[in-house]
Symmetry: C2
Subunit: 440 residues, 2 copies
């Protein structure tokens, strides 16, 4: 058997600690699988004395993680510090520049510097593995990089943020408002004190940028992604979705169009009987569409120390076996610039919920404005009571009446212009809710 692979671990939080334990517990099995053992030999963290429940004595200690990354006695560096700046960035750059493979869980770093880091890794001929950075325990990075090489991808979409999916699931299952579910998620530790990074879709966008690069060879660039969060979603939307055979999910979607790769993050109506609609709570899921193939969906834990550590150890096993596939599955030099999707040109079905003023001609005016933009309707729901609102809104004369419209495929531009006209006509009250429907 070959020499053990000597790991330098930068970062000793929940994930770093879990990696130490997992490598220790699985040592023999991993050695059999990889033809060599994988041993942590050095660690670095901010505080040496902090209680972590693991024995640090047997590891060399580096107070400077970049020094660990540069140390010639270390074969591979695991970066679990996090953040898109230093010290994480310097650690990864130092290791790659020294010709050492790197395993990282750092989506922010990859989202910002992934392209440049991939170029560096390839120039040095070493691996840069990041299975843990997207959808935690789901092996989607490997699947896109190596597992579906025979396929020509046409679309990839997924539930990539557990916090948002937890909130949407709780709203639906327990009939709670968005704010209540958010507070509950914060109480359970699923959401940060400042939840905007999660609920406004930016976390999903970082992960989508990475998946899009793997699937389509676009340069990782979250700035090229159209992003819309879930804070405007109401229980009335979830109920209307259910009634019409849909469920609302925050999806990251990257899709091949005639105009290039369209990358977007927004609340989305998905068919209720689809695999992805069944994914509830903090679970993640990714669906891959390829030419001539039925869709493939991967479902699993999106975060957590154990799932993340498991992904990191898989990446280390690949390094131990000598695998050095390019980071994004193809030469980085061939990756193409990401262009921001012009959402006005987005094509698809739309869910529109609006409050029509209860007076003669409202419905006719709305219908006419849609028709003027060549928008055809698949269904219209207008009832005295929308389930879940609990009151008969038609009962009080003059009160606005909720109307739900589902359109056939049209463009976003047409929908926006038709709704602007409807507002100018003063036949609706307040702002219409618009949710894109993703065919699935």
């Amino acid at each position: 058997m070959a020499e053990p692979l000597k790991v330098g671990l930068a970062g000793l939080g929940t994930v770093g600690t879990a990696v130490v334990e997992l490598l220790d517990r699985g040592r023999d099995k991993l050695a059999a699988r990889c033809g060599r053992a994988i041993d942590v030999v050095a660690v670095s963290a901010r505080s040496r004395g902090k209680k972590r429940g693991i024995e640090l004595k047997k590891f060399r200690w580096f107070s400077d993680p970049a020094a660990l990354a540069a140390d010639p006695a270390i074969d591979v560096v695991v970066e679990v510090i996090g953040g898109d700046g230093n010290p994480a960035k310097r650690v990864v750059e130092t290791a790659l520049a020294a010709g050492k493979p790197v395993v990282t869980a750092n989506k922010a770093l990859l989202a910002r510097h992934g392209y440049r880091l991939a170029l560096l890794a390839e120039r040095k001929g070493v691996a840069l593995n990041f299975e843990a950075s997207v959808a935690g325990g789901i092996p989607i990075v490997k699947t896109l990089r190596e597992g579906l090489n025979g396929s020509s991808f046409t679309r990839i979409y997924g539930i990539l943020n557990g916090t948002c999916n937890y909130i949407l699931s709780r709203m639906e299952q327990d009939r709670l408002a968005f704010d209540e579910c958010l507070r509950e998620a914060q109480r359970l530790g699923y959401a940060e004190a400042d939840p905007s990074f999660d609920v406004e879709g930016h976390d999903t966008a970082q992960k989508l940028a990475i998946l899009s690069s793997l699937a389509f060879g676009t340069k990782v660039d979250p700035a090229a992604i159209y992003v819309e969060g879930i804070s405007s979603i109401t229980l009335a939307d979830l109920d209307a979705a259910a009634e019409l055979g849909y469920r609302v999910k925050l999806l990251g979607v990257a899709v091949k169009t005639d105009a290039g790769i369209e990358q977007r993050v927004h609340p989305t109506m998905v068919r209720r009987e689809s695999a992805i609609a069944q994914v509830m709570g903090v679970t993640n899921a990714v669906t891959v569409d390829a030419e001539g193939l039925a869709p493939i969906t991967l479902v699993g834990p999106g975060a957590g120390g154990a799932a993340t550590a498991s992904a990191i150890v898989s990446d280390l096993a690949d390094v131990a076996r000598g695998d050095r596939t390019p980071p994004f599955g193809r030469p980085a030099a061939r990756m193409t610039a990401s262009r921001k999707a012009p959402m006005q040109r987005h094509e698809g079905g739309y869910y529109i919920r609006l409050l029509a003023r209860d007076r003669p001609g409202s419905a006719a005016t709305i219908a006419r404005r849609l028709a003027q933009r060549q928008i055809s309707l698949e269904s219209i729901v207008q009832r005295h009571e929308i389930s879940g609102l609990g009151t008969d809104q038609r009962g009080r004369s003059g009160e606005p009446v909720p109307v739900i419209l589902i359109t056939y495929a049209t463009t976003e531009d047409a929908v926006r212009k038709a709704l602007a006209a409807v507002r100018r006509d003063r036949v609706i009250s307040g702002q219409p809710q618009v949710i894109r429907i993703e065919k699935n």
Copy 2:
């Protein structure tokens, strides 16, 4: 860029033809991804003249596939002949013995000779890849072999036979009997003229044997698997399952128990809201449970020329990149013998449907017999009308009454003995239906 990888293709049916087309269409993209092109240079099939819609002129023709496998001008052999005997076996053995990597879609060959072929491949230091042999387009082989190396598997189970899943889905959705759905499946080409290999669970067993070897390091051995098919499943079972929050699926299950790895194939009640319960039609799905991790489920096309060819091309890409992970992810010499699961000792919940004679004391007798075997009941359903039967069976005095029992975890032995006693008591009519519940 390195020299192209020269492929010899043995077998030119639907799958072989699709491989030729896919490699041709994706040549540039694959070359970029693998650092070298992948070119078919030689083919072999029974009939040279048969219409296949592809140009054979540019390939060398071998009437003997074993000669193709031995030819020194060929780098890698793709075997898509099928069957566990010759010529497929000789082709694979010849190629491996000559130090050539092999890619195969042949589950029957692997199920019968997988262990020996893996030993041979490892001795020669070449790859033996078989992604296409299980669950077609789902990258489950790679996921188990390389993608979840950090995990300690505790159970793997899946819907591995599209024919059975199609039949069970049709029965439920269209309220048809088993026989009708089977005929429909035959008409659509989903089932063979002799359907027993599929519907009696043997196809699932071959695939499960391969997955179990990847997950648990058992020697591939379908003979060690307890197998039960779906032909006894009735609409009454599907309806009762729905009412109780379950759905019936034919699952292959390999699970770590104190007594070793239990491998079994049988109709199974799964929780209706689980990812695997949602899988309808010919689609396949596999769920992997690992210590300390939430389950991971992969869903996708289980068969078909395109899905199978895509898996084969992925395997070829791994060969082109020089990957040579051991066939079952660990040295074959370390694989352990599979032992047939003693089903009497199987532990779990049970669904029992029986027809109780409509006379005083029947229910009490059944309850007593179960209690004698320490079987506790989670639920009992006894009604005038079981939905789907369409007649009020209680209406005619003296007619037997359907009773559905769901037990808490118990042993198969206890269930069998309790039901034998109930039959001896003559309080039920006919044979009870027993379906195992899989916790998921």
